[in-house]
Amino acid sequence: MRYAMALDIKKCVGCADCVVACQTENNVPIGFARDWVIENGKGVYPELFLHFESQRCNHCDNTPCVRACPTGASHVIDGGIVKVTHNECIGCGACIEACPYEARYFHPDGYVDKCTFCDHRVSKGDNPACVSVCPTSCMYFGDLDDANSPVSKILRERQFYVLAPEAGTKPQVYFVK
């Protein structure tokens, strides 16, 4: 089993519904967010291009954050989801320094917090909160080992890119062009 997410940048309108859904679902403290929306502007007037990217933890295959963690609080669970055990985390910040995506932050309580791919929903067969609320249905989630999952299907049909592939992290959040 290998969970992954794909985001169609042609459909995304940058409404940030995914951000609010995540904050509500996971009780993320005010001012913090486990996912965020980036506006990418390209070109010179009048040839301007714009696309949005909803970014979050990439749940990498090769996890620099788990490697850097001195206590093993950062770990990988079934399906390749990267999680943090709160009461093992000492808040040293090594994983934040090691992550090329700035996906981790200090929770006001001190421990490091991040996207969990909503593993509490996924284990029941539901989609993560962000995916389930997307008004343009631009997000796809599923198991890469299952050829019929929505994410496998769209990655088969369309071209895609990942963020900072040169970092060698093998990220599992794909952006479909």
């Binding site: 940058g14 967010a33 929306v37 390209k42 490697r67 001190g110 040169e166």
Partner: protein, 331 residues
């Protein structure tokens, strides 16, 4: 033109506009680790060579410093944690993959040894201070000695150290090299920071740490031969350090774009003046030149080059930690 804007609210001040989770505590701790490693390296090396009585400052007196500064460094380290109440989790796990984990263990072992090494020389230290007109220090050390002798277990450990100095010296010599390298490897393990992502950081931090250790010993020393020896060692170490710095930047400039950009911060960017002017100029070149003059027979107070090297070592670590956190992958 390419522009990236964040359109959803995520105003986390230590992540944007760049990562800033390690403040002054970490570079200070890296400096202290390097300095302690340097002092213990020389103390155990000259002990193994059988020069304990010839070079009392190196082998005995200077080792009072490591336990004190390591304790300060550890206080800063725990102070820098965000989930402080759980710091003991660090001592509940051992993860070979994480330099921070094995480094914490090495530091713990070195800390324990560094406490007992000077304690095992207590009598010699008191005699040394009395001979050198440091009556007040001798008095204080006598008080400490009395106090320690009343404690349980600890006198046994001191006797154990006195009886097994040679094996302990070999272990400490090895561990102090590991500690010195660890202070650099701690940074280079961070995949996401191109400026740190060079294995040269390990030897560079080791050499820098050892040179600060040599400077500290030189400063404390009271006999000319020892001062001259450490001046000479320091000049050699500074030359090696400069070579490593040159190689480090060559590696960056010849590397991928993320590393080229991180090197540009030092080659025309915001860190150029402070790195080349203050660290390389005043922390390496100037003390090396002063020491050369000293060896040529001019009289220069040893405190000046020693202080410059120590300050340079600290500034170097502050710059590397700050600039490293700004350097990032581009996407």
């Amino acid at each position: 033109m390419k522009e990236q804007l964040m359109v959803s609210g995520r105003e986390i001040s230590n992540l944007y506009p760049h990562v800033d989770v390690w403040g002054f505590g970490i570079p200070l701790y890296l400096f202290i680790g390097g300095l302690a490693a340097g002092i213990l390296l020389f103390a155990t090396y000259y002990f193994i060579k059988g020069k304990a009585d010839e070079m009392p400052v190196t082998v005995k007196v200077s080792t009072i410093i490591p336990p004190i500064i390591i304790a300060i460094g550890l206080a800063f380290l725990v102070g820098d944690l965000h989930h402080k109440a759980y710091f003991w989790q660090l001592m509940m796990h051992f993860r070979l993959e994480s330099p921070m984990s094995w480094g914490a263990w090495v530091l713990t072992v070195v800390f324990v040894i560094s406490i007992f090494w000077p304690l095992s020389y207590m009598d010699d230290l008191i005699v040394f201070f009395e001979q050198n007109n440091k009556k007040w220090l001798a008095k204080q050390f006598k008080k400490v000695q009395k106090l320690i002798n009343k404690l349980p277990v600890i006198p046994w450990f001191i006797k154990f150290t006195q009886r097994n100095r040679k094996p302990i010296a070999y272990v400490t010599f090895f561990l102090s090299i590991v500690l010195g390298i660890y202070t650099g490897i701690l940074l280079s393990a961070m995949n996401a920071r191109p400026l740190w992502n060079s294995s040269l950081l390990g030897p560079l931090f080791l050499v820098s740490g050892v040179s600060t250790g040599a400077a500290a010993i030189m400063w404390m020393s009271n006999n000319e031969a020892e001062k001259k020896l450490f001046s000479r060692i320091d000049i050699g170490l500074i030359i090696i350090e400069l070579t490593f710095i040159l190689l480090l930047f060559l590696g960056f400039v010849w590397g991928p774009e993320a590393q080229v950009r991180s090197a540009e911060m030092f080659l025309g960017g915001e860190f150029t003046a402070v790195f080349w002017g203050i660290f390389v100029g005043m922390g390496l070149f100037l003390p090396a030149i002063l020491e050369l003059f000293e060896l040529k027979g001019y009289h220069i107070p040893i405190a000046i080059p020693a202080f410059l090297i120590l300050l340079g070592g600290l500034i170097f670590r502050v710059i590397m930690v700050d600039a490293g956190q700004i350097s990032t992958y581009l996407y």
